[in-house]
């Protein structure tokens, strides 16, 4: 067993044909890589563009579709709805949605609905409409019309409005995006896609899933990771503020007071 693992590791280390091992030599295989695997967030961070490129290896040259799904770390969303009460627009009770990635991008060579069926897309979480976003705190299970274990949301029929709002708000800030033309074939079997990270992209580990579809079914997939991290002074300050908040707060305030004192001394007219 150990020998087999070692053998695999050795094969992977030797630069050779990029064909990944496959049990069936005629089965189609997809392969992909990112131009950058880490994005550094510094004081001049203004978002980033990362290029993903890859190839489809299929000896039978069947018609292929490529779907690239990039998910950022999960960030729960707390949402409220403005309601008109006695002429005033007031906030409703807030609702917490879970399962929402902090960043999401679905890119494909043609619209997702043309590539696969609703059920397949839903199962893979492909497309902003198929993200597993829900509000577990609002759900309870009851028996309806004799059917047991029916999941009912206390948001009632408005549930889909709320869910769509989560996606809409994140789309507006550039965090969610679905692009039916985001993957382009540059040569036979060779494709590329661009991942645009906005300034507000959360830090953490991102998963890029590259899927090969044939005949509406996912036949091969690859997983790549991308790390977005703060570096240098930004990281030092962030870590200080979160790990030792009291000393950070005291230092920040002492600095502010000293600066005020210094300015007053500098401007003193004698």
């Amino acid at each position: 067993m150990l020998g087999a693992v070692l053998a695999l590791a050795t094969t992977a280390a030797v630069p050779g044909p990029p064909l990944p091992p496959s049990p069936n030599p005629t089965a189609p295989v997809i392969s992909a890589a990112l131009t950058d695997t880490t994005v550094q967030v510094k004081s001049d961070f203004r978002g980033a563009r990362i290029v993903l490129y890859g190839a489809v290896f299929d000896s039978a040259a069947r018609p292929s579709d490529v779907v690239v799904l990039v998910r950022g770390p999960e960030q729960p969303v707390r949402l409220t709805r403005k309601q008109k009460v006695a002429g005033l627009w007031l906030n409703s009770r807030p609702v917490v949605f879970r399962g929402a990635p902090g960043f999401y991008r679905a890119a494909s060579n043609r619209p997702l609905d043309d590539i696969a069926t609703f059920g397949t897309l839903r199962r893979l979480g492909a497309g902003v409409d198929h993200l597993p976003i829900n509000a577990p705190a609002e759900q309870h299970i009851e028996t309806r019309y004799g059917v047991r274990d029916v999941v009912v949301s206390s948001l009632g029929p408005d549930y889909y409005d709320w869910r769509r709002a989560v996606v809409r708000i994140r789309e507006k800030s550039g965090l969610y995006h679905e692009d039916g033309q985001g993957v382009s074939f540059v040569d036979r079997g060779l494709f590329r896609a661009e991942i645009a990270l906005p300034t507000g992209a959360p830090t953490g580990v991102y998963q890029a899933q590259i899927l090969l579809f044939q005949d509406g079914k996912p036949v091969s997939s690859r997983q790549r990771t991308l790390t977005v991290e703060k570096v240098g002074l930004e990281r030092a300050l962030y870590v200080w503020a979160h790990d030792r908040p009291w000393s950070y707060g005291l230092a920040a305030m002492a600095f502010a007071l000293a600066a005020g004192w210094g300015a007053s001394a500098a401007f003193r007219r004698d």
């Binding site: 709002a165 503020a241 305030m253 502010a256 007053s264």
Partner: protein
């Protein structure tokens, strides 16, 4: 020239923030107020998350108030004892306010209370100040003599127990009104993200009847103590103080405050009050407007997980 803020996690235009700090600092030095009521809405408007704006603003207000309070104390225009009594109340109020704000955020009603507080307090104070200062300006234009200063102080100020001497302000009053005022301002400062000067200054003039020369310096002293506490509390409990943002703001703020303190001597007091009243009124109305206008997006993302 954009710069990325490590805690707020957004990029802002650095010269614009410095300029904003300078303008608010100028107003702060000129009128003896912290300027938080202007700064907080502006920062939120520029896309900085509200909790970070409120918390980082405290550092800026403390710095610019520090910069101008020294100038006032050189002129012996600070009543240290009154400042300490007010600040004692302010500290209690700040703790109460932070708890109240936390509870309001859990209920999802923080936005409403913030908007209403801005509308009510800024609206009322701005309106009263505007009327008072305009009538003073009109009287002067018509060369009418100023109304006799009502030296008779309210009876309740003297009827209450726990009397204390404030020699600088030539007052011998109960400590209950200043402590209560301090608590009230402390609560407001935690909820509205302001130093509270816009309430303190008129209250010290009209309620406590302090001599006009003492009011500004003493209010600044109280603001420094309250905002210094708020800033450290916010950093310690909520990790929302962005030191890069605060530094950008205070670079402009301390310079602006110096020029503001000097410019204030070139204007007549009632003209200054009229300008401040207009600014206060406009900000209050703008913040309150959101309650009445139909929102473009009915769903609102709430910051923080409560």
């Amino acid at each position: 020239m954009d710069i990325y803020l490590p805690i707020a996690e957004v990029a802002v235009n650095a010269p614009l923030i410095v300029l904003l700090g300078a303008v608010v600092g100028f107003i702060s030095g000129m009128f003896g107020i912290g300027g938080g009521f202007l700064m907080t809405p502006m920062l939120v408007f520029l896309g900085i998350p509200a909790p970070v704006a409120v918390a980082s603003m405290a550092n800026h207000v403390a710095a610019s108030s520090m910069s101008s309070v020294i100038a006032y104390s050189r002129r012996r225009a600070v009543d240290l004892r009154m400042g300490a009594v007010l600040a004692g109340g302010g500290i209690v109020g700040a703790f109460l306010g932070v708890e109240l704000f936390r509870w309001l955020r859990l209920m999802g009603q923080a936005d409403l209370v913030v908007s209403l507080s801005y509308l009510v307090f800024l609206g009322v104070i701005g309106g009263l100040m505007l009327m008072e200062s305009l009538s003073a300006i009109l009287r002067r234009r018509r060369n009418e003599p100023p109304p006799p200063r009502r030296d008779r102080r309210p009876v309740w100020l003297y009827g209450l127990p726990l009397k204390m001497r404030f020699p600088r302000s030539r007052l011998y009053i109960s400590v209950i009104p200043p402590v209560a005022l301090g608590i009230f301002v402390g609560v407001l400062s935690a909820i509205m993200g302001v130093g509270g000067g816009f309430i303190l200054v008129p209250a010290m003039v009209y309620v406590l009847r302090m001599p006009a020369g003492m009011v500004v310096g003493t209010s600044l002293l109280q603001i420094i103590i309250t905002t210094a506490l708020t800033g450290v509390l916010q950093a310690g409990r909520n990790q929302t103080v962005d030191i890069v943002l605060a530094t950008l703001l205070l670079v402009g703020g301390i310079v602006g405050a110096q020029f503001g303190a000097r410019a204030s001597s070139r204007f007549r007091a009632e003209e200054l009050r009229a300008i401040l009243a207009l600014i206060v009124l406009l900000v209050g109305l703008r913040m309150g407007l959101g309650l009445f206008l139909t929102p473009d997006e009915p769903f609102v993302l709430m910051s923080g997980m409560g």
